[in-house]
């Protein structure tokens, strides 16, 4: 009887192996797109939610918590998307983005500020010379209910005004009615117009409803050239949830493993507490790992989250909570 040797565990066994020798398949027709989506496994909602619930019990303490809070701060897309936004508010937001805590200069700056296209130029001028990027929502955000021509003009204007990142919305109507080729082509067209600007594709998962749809939409966006896939606009009742983030993280992981392309994930809408942010980071840590643990590949779209992160950071340092009024409102 021969003895089989113990198979030594290699670093790859613990990794998401990114195949740069592979390529993103070229898609010529809706039929081809469909045949790729048909290879995706379904998502068992009970199992996905159970996995998230289990990871939510991770207890993040001490130096890990400090590191996680700083990382989360650096991943924030500080956002204001109101009809009532003013240049003054954007100035204030940009100042805060560059220097979140005037009391403590060791606090990292956030990743980006996220505004409507008409405020891009203003944000750009305030942020001049800082590493904070300007992100603009475009393509008839948040509903996406406009012709492709109007959407592309929206994007062109934002890019011309100096946006580094474009947050577009997909046509949910087209997706839900089965016209996935149209969804794909729109993203391809927007990507072209983006030029050097990074493209984040908002799936609006609250309107897609099922995890199977989230997985499919994630793949359509990635195949069409998205640099990021993003959960939500924050303008519909159901925004980012952890199971949705899990499904999207699994999608970027599998996409990297099969095509060699690394796509980022942005969770947006309804994330207000450090506890939530840390839970998302645990999901990233245990689903896609080190490559994604950076603002280049994971973002939080949020506004009030930043102050809670700052407050928890001070709590870690001082051992006591600080009054919320110690931090600027925006």
């Amino acid at each position: 009887m021969s003895t089989a040797p113990l198979r030594l565990v290699t670093p790859e066994d613990h990794s998401v192996v990114i195949q740069t020798s592979s390529q993103v398949p070229r898609i010529e027709s809706e039929t081809e797109l469909r045949s790729i989506l048909a290879t995706l496994s379904g998502v068992d909602s009970v199992g996905a939610e159970a996995r998230v619930a289990k990871l939510a019990t991770r207890s993040i303490k001490k130096s890990t918590k400090m590191a996680a809070l700083d990382l989360a701060i650096s991943m924030v897309d500080l956002t204001t998307l109101e009809g009532a936004d003013t240049p003054g508010k954007v100035t204030s937001l940009c100042t805060k983005a560059m220097r979140p805590s005037p009391m403590d200069l060791s606090v990292p700056s956030v990743a980006a500020v996220c505004v409507y296209p008409d405020l891009v130029a203003h944000a750009r001028s305030v942020l001049k010379g800082s590493p904070v990027a300007v992100a603009a929502v475009a393509t008839a955000f948040p509903s996406g209910r406009a012709s492709l021509m109007v959407k592309l003009m929206d994007v062109r204007e934002a890019v011309a005004n100096g946006a580094d990142e474009i947050d577009m919305v997909i046509d949910r109507g087209a997706f839900l009615s089965g016209r996935i080729g149209q969804v794909y082509e729109e993203i391809v067209a927007v990507k072209q117009v983006c030029g050097k600007a990074h493209l984040k594709v908002i799936l609006e998962t609250g309107e897609l409803v099922t995890y199977d749809n989230v997985r499919k939409a994630s793949w359509i966006a990635m195949l069409a050239g998205a640099d990021f896939i993003k959960t939500s606009t924050g303008k519909v009742p159901v925004a980012a949830t952890q199971p949705v983030a899990l499904v999207m993280l699994e999608a970027v992981r599998d996409f990297a493993e099969t095509t060699g392309q690394i796509v980022g994930v942005k969770v947006a809408g309804g994330i207000r507490t450090s506890k939530d942010a840390i839970r998302y980071l645990v999901l990233v840590n245990e689903t896609v790992g080190s490559t994604w643990m950076t603002p280049d590949l994971f973002r939080f779209g949020a506004s009030s989250l930043l102050n809670d992160l700052l407050m928890q950071r001070l709590k870690q340092q001082r051992g006591t909570y600080i009054r919320p009024d110690e931090f600027s409102g925006d």
Binding site: M1, S2, T3, A4, L6, R7, L8, V9, P11, E12, D13, H14, S15, V16, V17, I18, Q19, T20, S21, S41, G42, V43, D44, V46, G47, A48, A50, R51, T57, R58, S59, I60, K61, K62, S63, T64, K65, A67, A68, E250, R253, A256, L281, V282, N285, E286, T287, V288, G289, S290, T291, W292, M293
Partner: protein, 495 residues
Amino acid sequence: MNSVETDMAENNLPNSKLGSLQYDPAPESAAIAKLKSSYGLFINGKFTDPSKHEQFETINPATENQLATISQGSASDVDKAVKAARKAYDNVWSKTTGAERAKYLYRIARIIQERSRELAVVETLDNGKPIRESRDVDIPLAAAHFFYYAGWADKLEHAGFGNSPKPIGVAGQIIPWNFPLMMAAWKLAPALAAGNTCVLKPAETTPLSALILAEIIQQAGLPDGVVNIVTGDGATGSALVDHPGVDKIAFTGSTGVGRLIQQRVATSHKRLTLELGGKGANIVYEDAPIDEMIEGIIDGIFFNQGHVCCAGSRLLVQESIADDVLRRLVRRVEQLRVGDPMDKNTDIGAINSLEQLKRINELVAYGEQEGATRYTSSCELPKKGFWFAPTVFADVSQSHRIAREEIFGPVLSVLTFRTPEEAITKANNTNYGLACGVWSEKGSRTLWTAERLRAGVVWANTYNKFDPTSPFGGTRESGFGREGGKHGLEAYLNV
């Protein structure tokens, strides 16, 4: 075809390491356990003086540190306990109304909830299981069983066992070390609800949570003698099995011991239910939801260090996806956090005893000798205590010992199949019949499979899920009788 290794070397790829953010230790405090240095036996509502008994130590398997001194129940102690149970049955409990019995059971359930943190810590210290599991699974399920059967106590005539089902009398109950408090609850709750009195013998290596339960029973004001808890080793259990004053034996444990018990009670009046070993098959079809299925396989075999009678210790995976599943599985195994069971982030704790560790090592050595490919997590194991790194065997064939014998540890055997018929044949080709899992997105295929599996429990797209409303139990060498649900009452009623 290019191998993955060559591509890697050529391109120097930026692989993404999972779990690169290390978590600082987040240990639960052992002081919460408030353990006494020694414990007597719980007979007739009181703890006996430990100094009057022969004693043994119970240790923490994660550190080998002594936790407390436990009394070894002798044959005469068992006799006292059975007599106390008989007296309580004749004079009190058989005359107590169902609604009144329910009141006590509800009280016990609530006190378990109130003292849940303490119980979770005690369970983890004594058993070695991760605090996350004792906190989130063992203790809540123990309370849930008392709550559930409390509800039945005054409704027995509606349970489908006739107009006026009667209790059996005195139940002797012997429980294992893998889920100490939960098993005690599974045994005591239906027995008490049905109107029996009990003598419970906890496992030798994990007596502590049952002794805390004895305190809870005192706290709940349960009449003296209705529940008696006699700690000790196999000899104590043997005395309980042989005692003529016992009307029913309920045993959960190994098939070997179960066989002996069945022989011993064969010529007596005693009723018997047995919940024994298993070699559960987790059947994975190619259309399974892959990410959740991987988690399910992990839960199926590594939950509670694999010390689970219904563990999904055989993975039967459809050939077309076998390579992908194995790769994802090994990656996930490598990610499991093994270590201090008191750390809230630990996924896999300590093996319960040196004896069990030896058994695991022995069977794993056979697996290697028989030619199966072994993947073992490279995790660092603590120096002291009993540990076994999570392990997956690939290329296992049906005739290997690791495919046939219950390992009762964190070791998975992976086999493949081509057709659904082959999956059924392989899954059923075992002497056991406790639990199986089926993974598929196609409902009709799941039902087709479940119908053909010879097992007491079949999970679909999940594994190791327990609920007090659902009956649990096996067939063939996995035993007979059901625990949980309405069915669980039958074992404690004269029907």
